[in-house]
């Protein structure tokens, strides 16, 4: 595709439920990143994939958060037992090792009631 795509664009869930957020990177990009942006806050790094491995997962806020990437392409961010403080926009970006530029998807707005 032409750009990074994410789904769903909006997700409303009840506290305690699990959610899965999906990211399709730009074709050929080996690097994939997840960030989140809480209301009024800057973007916060969550995890970085190079291929299917995650050399840096230092930004995951708790063990309720996990992510995987398969086939060097699609990535899924899973949040278990969601809490209200998980409400945020979750942004995915992709890039390649030839350049530092990261291209962002449209994000998923997660609301935990």
């Amino acid at each position: 595709g032409a750009g990074v795509s994410q789904s769903p664009s909006n997700k409303v869930t009840e506290k305690g439920k699990d959610v899965e957020l999906r990211c399709d990177p730009i074709s050929g990009h080996t690097a994939l990143y997840w960030y989140r942006q809480s209301l009024g806050q800057g973007l916060e790094f969550l995890i970085y994939f190079q291929g299917n491995s995650a050399p840096d997962k230092s930004g995951l806020p708790s063990d309720r958060f996990s992510a995987e990437r398969t086939g060097g392409s699609v990535s899924t961010l899973t949040i278990q037992r969601t809490q209200q403080e998980d409400s945020a926009v979750y942004l995915c970006a992709s890039g390649n090792r030839a350049t530092d530029t990261q291209y962002f998807g449209p994000g998923t707005r997660l609301t935990v009631l």
Binding site: G42, T101, G105
Partner: protein, 111 residues
């Protein structure tokens, strides 16, 4: 701790004005710095700066990096209402690949 400070946090100007947005950073193992424009959800890429003193230009936008003083500026000339957005700067950490974002500058252009 890695730190990025953008100023001003908010700026309101009239169409046609010129604006300068500031970004100062303190990060370990600096590699390069990126500027993004965020209108709704997705930040869109503007510039990547790696070397000091070399201005990057795209239309009415330009940016420059000072690696000695650890800051970058983004200039927008002849502003238009479509320039209204949050502008984000983000250094990349060598090896870690992650972007460290500032709070952003919310720019509002009034007609």
């Amino acid at each position: 701790e890695d730190k990025v400070v953008q100023s001003p946090l908010s700026l309101v100007v009239h169409e046609g004005d010129t604006v300068t947005l500031n970004c100062s950073y303190e990060v370990t193992n600096f590699r390069s710095l990126l500027w993004y424009k965020q209108e709704k959800k997705a930040p869109t890429f503007l510039f990547m700066l790696t070397s000091s003193g070399i201005e990057k230009k795209s239309g009415r936008l330009s940016s420059i990096l000072d690696k000695k003083e650890l800051f970058s500026i983004l200039n927008i000339t002849a502003t238009q209402t479509g320039d209204s957005a949050v502008y984000l700067c983000a250094p990349i950490i060598q090896g870690a690949q992650k972007l460290v974002f500032g709070q952003g500058t919310r720019l509002t252009i009034n007609p």
